[in-house]
């Protein structure tokens, strides 16, 4: 056997030292991440194949039964569909509005910062307060929204959060209002990155404002749009708080979403197995969307280079 060389070259030593310094900087955050994110995530994977009621009693391995149970549960399937419905109602309006706002506010005007701030404001407002205030606005009998609708001649306005057909629309409206400011900032940042020379050249060629938007701005923003689309979709699948505050999943279960279902299974029924299985399904959905994003990102960045 050859003797193992234990002494390191000065170069290796330096590399190790600088790595250690690097790790020591990450460590505080990493520990927090491990305790509050990573370990719970692993734990819910384990729970999803177990039967457990949250007590001291030992867990019981049940294999994929939990998944079979939730997929056989009407309420789970409905919650899944409601989540998709919410995503469809929310993603595109948010996308379009935030893009339009960004384009409108991408001018050097006096006081533009005030408008930008005003539109960003809902994003930082507390979701509980936002939900409560919008609930009052949507109040079907004497709420301002329905008063206005009656004023412009709609004699039977929707009953919003107490109407199975409109409750999800109401939640989506609030969601669009709340989050468009954030994505507007994302778009604004991207707009600043578009070279002014493109517009100049187009201007010389006689392009009007709309044509510039259609043939320069929107194509140049494609990677951003893609990013926003993916982030919005993921966000929609994770929705819980707004629904909880505005309707509590009602009327009936018309606005019950995936996370509301998981919450109820875990903390009303104390069935952590099926609840975790639901969470894994959610995880799978988000994972697929993220993978699409990764693939897309590569494609866009290649196209632009």
């Amino acid at each position: 056997m050859k003797e193992v060389k234990t002494t390191l070259t000065p170069h290796q030593k330096k590399a190790i030292r600088s790595n250690l310094v690097g790790y020591s900087f990450i460590l505080p955050n990493l520990i927090g991440y491990a305790i509050f994110v990573f370990i719970p995530v692993i734990f819910s994977f384990i729970l999803s194949v177990m039967k457990w009621d949250g007590s001291k009693a030992p867990m019981e391995f049940v294999g994929l039964k939990n998944f079979a149970q939730i997929f056989g549960d009407r309420i789970f399937v409905q919650s899944f569909l409601h989540t998709i419905q919410y995503a469809l109602l929310t993603v595109f309006p948010t996308l379009v509005l935030s893009l339009l706002l960004a384009v409108l506010l991408n001018h050097k005007l006096k006081g533009i910062a005030i408008f930008r701030t005003a539109l960003y404001f809902p994003y930082i407002a507390s979701i509980v307060a936002v939900g409560a205030v919008w609930n009052m606005l949507f109040q079907p009998d004497f709420g301002p929204i329905n008063e206005f609708l009656k004023f412009i001649g709609i004699s039977k306005p929707p009953r919003w959060v107490v109407d199975v057909k409109w409750a999800m629309v109401a939640i989506s409206v609030v969601s669009v209002w709340k989050y468009m400011g954030y994505y507007m900032i994302v778009y604004l940042a991207a707009l600043q990155g578009i070279s002014g020379s493109l517009y100049e050249a187009a201007g010389i060629d006689g392009a009007n404002g709309f044509q510039k938007l259609r043939y320069i701005t929107i194509p140049m923003l494609t990677p951003t749009t893609f990013f926003v689309l993916i982030m919005l979709t993921i966000q929609c699948f994770k929705v819980f708080d707004l629904v909880y505050v505005m309707t509590g999943g009602g009327p009936g279960n018309a606005t019950k979403t995936l996370v509301n279902y998981i919450y109820e299974k875990a903390f009303t029924s104390w069935e952590f197995g099926p609840a975790s299985a639901g969470a894994i399904v959610l995880f799978a959905v988000v994972l697929v969307i993220t993978l699409i994003q990764f693939a897309g990102e590569k494609k866009w960045s290649k196209d632009l280079m």
Partner: protein, 450 residues
């Protein structure tokens, strides 16, 4: 250069330590107290019990909800500490809405605290019993020859699979509140203690007056499903856990008809405007309101604080046509002991006190009804300042039959969720009554595995 690096590493290490200690400070403290219990007994919860020296305080931990705003726990906790100066009671308080969740999570940790558990609803008692988180009390009761007859059968009704996990602490049942001033102004006789639900509906029609924001409704149904289903189970022939819910039909039809005629406020208005029943009654927007006996204490406090000044009264809850007066619906608030407690004997002593006649009288002074109904405690409640005057009000507090609003079923919390959802759908007319009943049959069968 090198110095800078070392400094950086030290700083980073410091941050790590800080984050670790920040997370773990609580456990570190209590374990330190455990080992050095003799010296730091006074300020630590567990230590007092370990050392048992005279003059040192034993500490009991209890869980409550809305401790500050409701006298129901405070009065008894204070009285116990007064009688047992060597015991200190530590209260872990949670808001009522979050109570079951946070209690469930803290019990999952299987820690010696809390010792005493006030159970917010009987359904959650069963969930805890199923998870073996509650201590069976039968051995203690046998040892002490504990007499449960004072509870008039309520202790036996609380048994689950023949085991006692909790004793009745407070007891509430439904009565009919009415606004005397509104009845006087309308020249209509007060609701009597013997009224059928049909007569009540008729009276609600008579008492409805006005338009718009000054409208006074004859009756008021809060948004709870209980305010329809209770009357369907009042005769004791059904419970809210059944294979066939068609017995609910006449009661939903009656509630919907009250709503359609405008004798009670619209469900969707109450729900979307998030209106609390107490504000409706206190603002004199309704002439009558079926509600639990807990509301008596609220009204007495409201009068005492000069928040309201009108006269109000109580009548027995109306009854179905096929039963006589005296049938009511109610629920118990049990008190139990955590299975993980490290001082079971002291905990039992507290539970015994909290469910004793003595505690019943203390609570009666606060207008709170307990598991023990004696002439004396009734008199105490009726003699409270601002309790409505007149014999009929005292008679209204008596009942002959007491049905639980929900049966002791281990799946009751889930079934309640289904009941709530269907109730909402029927009341906002997204379901017909028949559709609602069909959905309920299906949902409950799924939950129960029928």
């Amino acid at each position: 250069m090198k110095l800078k690096k070392v400094l950086a590493m030290v700083l980073a290490a410091g941050m790590v330590c800080a984050s670790l200690t920040a997370c773990g400070s609580k456990t570190a403290e209590s374990s330190a107290a455990d080992t050095t219990g003799a010296t730091t007994a006074a300020d630590s919860s567990k230590a007092g019990d370990k050392t048992q020296n005279s003059g040192e305080k034993k500490v009991l931990t209890v869980t409550t909800w809305d401790y500050d705003s409701s006298p129901q726990f405070q009065a008894v906790v204070d009285a116990y500490m007064k009688e047992n100066p060597n015991v200190e009671i530590k209260v872990i308080d949670t808001s009522a809405d979050e109570y079951n969740n946070s209690l469930g999570i803290s019990l999952s940790a299987a820690q010696p605290d809390p010792d005493i558990i006030w159970v917010k609803d009987m359904g959650s008692m069963l969930q805890m019993a199923d998870k073996k988180q509650l201590l069976p009390l039968d051995d203690f009761m046998k040892k002490d020859n504990f007499d449960t007859s004072v509870y008039n059968g309520a202790a036996e009704q609380l048994q689950y699979n023949g085991v006692t996990y909790g004793l009745p602490y407070r007891s509430d049942w439904y009565v009919l509140y009415y606004n005397k001033d509104l009845f006087d102004a309308a020249g209509v006789a007060y609701p009597s203690n013997d009224m059928t639900w049909d007569e009540y509906n008729e009276l609600a029609g008579k008492m409805t007056s006005g338009e718009g924001s000054s409208k006074v409704y004859g009756g008021h149904n809060h948004t709870w499903q209980a305010l329809v289903t209770n009357w369907a189970v009042q005769d004791g022939k059904h419970t809210v856990v059944e294979k066939d819910y068609s017995f609910l039909k006449p009661w939903y039809e009656s509630a919907l008809s009250l709503q359609d005629k405008g004798y009670i406020q619209d469900y969707s208005t109450l729900k979307t405007a998030n209106i609390h029943y107490s504000s409706v009654f206190k603002n004199q927007q309704c002439a009558m309101m079926p509600m639990g006996t807990w509301f008596i204490a609220t009204m007495i406090q409201s009068r005492a604080a000069d928040e309201t000044s009108f006269n109000w009264g109580i009548a027995r809850i109306p009854h179905p046509a096929d039963t006589e007066s005296g049938y009511t619906v109610g629920a118990l608030t049990p008190i139990g002991i955590s299975a993980y407690t490290d001082q079971p004997d002291l905990s039992w002593d507290f539970v015994k006190f909290a469910t004793s006649k003595e505690a019943a009288n203390i609570l009666a002074e606060q207008g709170v009804f307990t598991g023990i109904q004696t002439e004396e405690s009734l008199k105490t409640i009726a003699s409270a300042q601002f309790f409505p005057e007149g014999e009929s009000n005292i008679e209204a507090l008596s009942y002959t039959h007491y049905t639980f609003d929900r049966p002791l079923d281990p799946k009751i919390e889930e079934i309640r969720k289904a009941l709530d959802e269907v109730h909402e759908m029927i009341m906002i007319k997204q379901y017909t009554v028949d559709q609602g009943i069909e959905e309920l049959n299906k949902r409950v069968a799924e939950i129960k595995g029928w």
